[in-house]
């Protein structure tokens, strides 16, 4: 039998307000459970010894998946990975997000793990951070003096900034609609299938009626201290009639643009090679999807 450290109290608040009151009352002794797929192993090995567990599963508004202003997509923080990739609107309109959700862990993890948990969990080596940056999402945070919104690009692109202050909670994530003629994609390489990304590349491309690329974003994750918005590589695509040669050059530019680390999982040189290879696949996929969308 696995023995976790003793826990004093377990709460399942039924509303956001009840939850925020609980968090305010329990200070730093509380640990929040979303899907728990990252937290449970830490409880299990006693890296975490919370006095209070607050389980978000009972808060209906955190599970919402709805259209927002201007054709945007709003996801409550408790949307599960499986809810995301099985939603046809999401796989059509925000394909990179569906690609990433389908690549987080295994089916069992996708059935419990949430987008909010993935974004809040304290490592940069996850899939969702580079994807929400690429799709220019905005994060709504509650629990402070006032609810506030932050740009995913600003917060996750800068390792010096933390997402949440004590007592705060990520409430939802809003994804703007992509312009007409756009396509996006995400792929990664992990040591095991669907493992944490050694390198993960998200791309979104927009083309005008003459098939000229008018906007491009490429964000590379799996890097420390933060995912990298590869703007120089994006410039290789913008203004071009895209073909496979242009895509190869853009992927090469992305590989040159990053400052990869060497660690036990991959050397810096191998990470650059991965960005070249995966970058090409992702850009081809995004290009193809943009062409099909038009």
């Amino acid at each position: 039998m696995a023995q976790l450290a003793a826990v004093g109290a377990y709460h399942v608040p039924a509303s956001l307000n009840e939850c925020l009151d609980l968090l305010a009352g329990s200070g730093d002794t509380a640990v929040i459970l979303a899907g728990g797929q990252a937290i449970l192993p830490l409880l299990r090995n006693r890296s975490l010894r919370p006095d209070v567990l607050v389980d978000l599963s009972g808060i209906a508004e955190l599970h919402r998946r709805e259209a927002g202003a201007g054709g945007s997509l709003v996801l409550g923080a408790m949307c599960r990975h499986r809810d995301i990739y099985e939603d046809r609107k999401i796989s059509a309109g925000w394909s990179a997000l569906a690609d990433a959700a389908a690549g987080v862990g295994d089916l069992q993890v996708q059935n419990r793990g949430t987008i909010g948990g993935n974004l809040v969990f304290g490592t940069v080596l996850t899939d969702m951070k580079q994807v929400v940056m690429c799709l220019d999402a905005r994060l709504r945070i509650v629990g402070g003096p006032e609810p506030r919104e932050v740009s995913a690009r600003e917060i996750f692109g800068d390792a010096g900034r933390s997402l949440l202050e004590p007592g705060e909670l990520l409430e939802s994530i809003a994804f703007p609609a992509l312009a007409e003629g756009s396509g996006s994609a995400y792929r990664k390489f992990g040591i095991t299938t669907n493992g944490r990304p050694v390198i993960g590349v998200a791309a979104a491309l927009t083309f005008d009626a003459d098939r000229v690329c008018t906007a491009a974003t490429i964000v590379v994750g799996g890097l420390v201290p933060a995912p990298h918005d590869a703007r120089i590589a994006a410039q290789v695509l913008i203004g071009q009639h895209v073909d496979e040669d242009v895509i190869v050059r853009a992927a090469q530019a992305a590989a040159a643009d990053i400052k990869p680390q060497s660690d036990a999982r991959a050397s810096a040189a191998y990470r650059r090679q991965l960005v070249r290879a995966i970058g090409q696949e992702v850009l081809l996929q995004a290009w193809k999807r943009a062409t099909e969308a038009r």
């Binding site: 797929q37 567990l53 089916l107 069992q108």
Partner: protein, 186 residues
């Protein structure tokens, strides 16, 4: 600290007062004596042998506290044969494992079967489209077979899927409807 929970397992409601820190897998094995659900790693979510169905979806019972299952419906490997309404006692998943020799030592089998339960329930809901070997392998990535007998397991999934496809549509869903187990218990 302890908490009172009521968890429906294989159709039967169980009321218990349990420590908050108890994992669902330990609740199933040690409180309910349902030892078909296995622990293949050190309860850290690596092997998938403890996979059970919670509210219709496959989840690792070592990656969940038992208190998180309060008010929910759990199906374990012991529940599979109880979906049968005729004397033929085996669930299509069990029958296919038997026919295709999809187990060697058998340790991963309960977890495999419960992940496959989710895969096939989804396939049935979608109208039984073809399940390719590649797709099955991707969906089973969270279940490790240390005997490495994956080929036969993939074949068994395809055999079970074919058998379900050959059934009238109204019969297919009954093999995955946990509410049916509750009726049988009441």
């Amino acid at each position: 600290m302890q908490k009172a929970v009521s968890v429906t397992v294989n159709g039967r409601v169980h009321h218990r007062t349990i420590p908050i820190r108890m994992l669902l897998v330990d609740f199933l094995r040690d409180e309910l004596n349902l030892t078909g659900t296995h622990v293949g790693c050190t309860s850290e979510g690596r092997c998938g042998a403890c996979t059970v169905i919670v509210d219709g979806n496959a989840m690792k019972s070592c990656m969940m506290l038992a208190v998180q299952a309060d008010g929910r419906s759990v199906v374990t490997v012991e529940g599979l044969e109880r979906f049968a309404s005729q004397p033929d006692p085996l669930h299509p998943i069990q029958q296919a494992f038997w026919e295709r020799h999809a187990l060697q030592c058998g340790y991963c089998t309960p977890g495999m079967m419960m992940t496959i339960f989710d895969i096939l329930a989804t396939n049935v809901r979608e109208g039984c489209p073809e399940l390719t070997g590649e797709k099955i392998r991707r969906l089973l990535v969270g279940n490790i077979c240390r005997c490495t007998g994956y080929s036969h397991i993939v074949e068994a999934v395809q055999t079970a899927a074919e058998r379900l496809r050959a059934m009238p549509p109204e019969e297919r869903g009954a093999w995955f409807d946990a509410a049916k187990l509750e009726e049988a218990c009441s």
